[in-house]
């Protein structure tokens, strides 16, 4: 299954924009676990996922060719 990852702010220093083939990742909870396993620094960071441009508020099924954005909070002014 192909997933496109888009990351913002400080998180883009960890995870660059990329398309990856994921197998066995059916939903956003699984995706999050996989991501934090691969990038342990994420575990201690605040971020929000958006699946196909919709904020993920509960575990959501991921279908092939999905785009997942990873967004940290910004506070600068």
């Amino acid at each position: 299954m192909e997933i496109e990852i888009i990351s913002f702010g400080k998180i883009s220093e960890l995870i660059s924009n990329q398309k990856i083939d994921f197998d066995g990742i059916a939903d956003t909870d699984n995706f999050k676990l996989h991501l934090e396993h691969q990038f342990p620094a994420l575990k201690s960071m605040k971020y929000k996922l958006a699946l196909n441009k919709n904020i993920v508020q509960e575990n959501t099924q991921i279908i092939n060719k999905a785009t997942i954005a990873i967004m940290p909070p910004f506070s600068g002014g």
Binding site: S44, K46, I55, A69, F74
Partner: protein, 368 residues
């Protein structure tokens, strides 16, 4: 009102006389007269927003001038609110400008926010952002949220329902603030002047669209803007629910927004004169928590260097000094370090953080 002044937008198809009247009736509060607030204020005042309030308790410094374009070199040291208000009033003599030279806190924010119809958040720290979000949610005020980090910006409109979604707020994105030091701010991380210029101007545009009821404002959406690629990415926000939002004034007043003025934080923020006093004691250790590449370089005989990136390891070591003074560039990372040491030692050691950091007390550090 002088129709001549606003002629070019009144004759614009899709804007017109009615929209102009809405702007003139509107009361907009801009919180933070900094990199975001300056351009936002300029366009809001020029467009003819009838009443504009400005909140900021800070004074102008030289390092503000590359992005805070309402201010000149001669304004250094003056209150931002005063200089901004005077300048804007000169730009547009037909509108009312209200000065609020204060820092918003739990005990004053509700009174001020309740006097306005629209709130624009251009502050530079998470404490203020959560305070403003919760106050606007409680008082049901539309909130235009603008923020920057590195070469990117975020823009959103909260507390405003649209035809699809009931109103959302910042906590639907990020239920609780990040830990201190997790997300660096402009003073720590740097910022290119034009970025808050763009995002602040976009925030003014969203405010005008919302008031004039034109186009599709970013209601229940968050836009991410990347200056380096000129790419924008807009995400739909839905209700999250896994957070506490104060529902009454009493609940609001009981929230913890980590104002430095309230609550027992344990460590003490000091100025340069207190630093000098502490320095004379044998049982004082001065710790510079900046990374090794940062300038100015301090005398390592006097200042022990423990960069934040190595602070975790340092926390496992022991040292004899009873007084610990933490120093960084702007006094932000040193607070995070002070909190960590305070948590480890409690009352066993006295922990201090130099408020404002090396930049604020530059003369002291260049002398010594």
């Amino acid at each position: 009102m002088s129709a001549e002044r606003y002629n070019r937008q009144i004759i614009l198809k899709g804007f017109g006389e009615e929209a102009q009247q809405q702007l003139l009736k509107a009361k907009v509060l801009v919180i933070g007269a900094g990199g975001l607030g300056c351009p936002a204020l300029q366009y809001l005042a020029a467009a003819g927003i009838g009443h504009i309030g400005i909140v900021d308790d800070d004074t102008i410094s030289l390092s503000n001038l590359h992005r805070q374009i309402l201010f000149t070199t001669a304004d250094i040291g003056k209150l931002k609110v005063e200089v901004a208000a005077k300048r804007l009033q000169e730009m547009n003599t037909q509108i009312g400008i209200i000065r609020h030279p204060i820092r918003l806190q739990k005990n004053n924010i509700l009174d001020i926010v309740s006097r306005y119809d629209y709130i624009l958040d251009g502050t530079d720290n998470f404490e203020s952002r959560y305070l403003i979000n919760d106050a606007c949610a409680l008082l049901n005020k539309p909130l235009i949220f603008a923020a920057v980090s590195g070469f990117e910006g975020q823009l959103a409109i909260f507390n405003t329902p649209d035809h699809l979604t009931p109103s959302t707020n910042y906590r639907d994105l990020f239920p609780v603030p990040p830990d201190k030091g997790e997300i660096p701010n402009c003073a720590e991380n740097g910022i290119i002047g034009v970025l808050p210029g763009i995002i602040g101007t976009m925030a003014a545009a969203e405010t005008i669209k919302l008031i004039a009821k034109i186009g599709q404002p970013l209601t229940n959406k968050i836009l991410n803007y990347n200056l380096l690629t000129q790419e924008q990415y807009t995400i739909n926000i839905s209700h999250g629910g896994d957070y506490t939002l104060p529902k009454t004034v009493d609940e609001f007043l009981n929230m913890n927004y980590q104002d430095t003025s309230e609550g027992p934080q344990g460590y003490i923020e000091i100025d340069a004169s207190e630093l000098v006093k502490l320095q004379q004691s044998e049982s004082t250790i001065l710790i510079d928590v900046r990374e090794k590449h940062e300038v100015p370089v301090l005398d390592k005989q006097i200042y022990t260097q423990v960069p934040m990136s190595e602070f975790g390891a340092f926390l496992n070591k022991e040292f004899y000094q009873k007084h610990v003074v933490l120093i960084c560039q702007h006094g932000i990372r040193s607070v995070a370090a002070a909190e960590a040491l305070q948590e480890k030692y409690g009352d066993a050691k006295k922990i201090y953080s130099l408020k404002g950091g090396i930049v604020k007390w530059r003369d002291h550090f260049l002398r010594s």
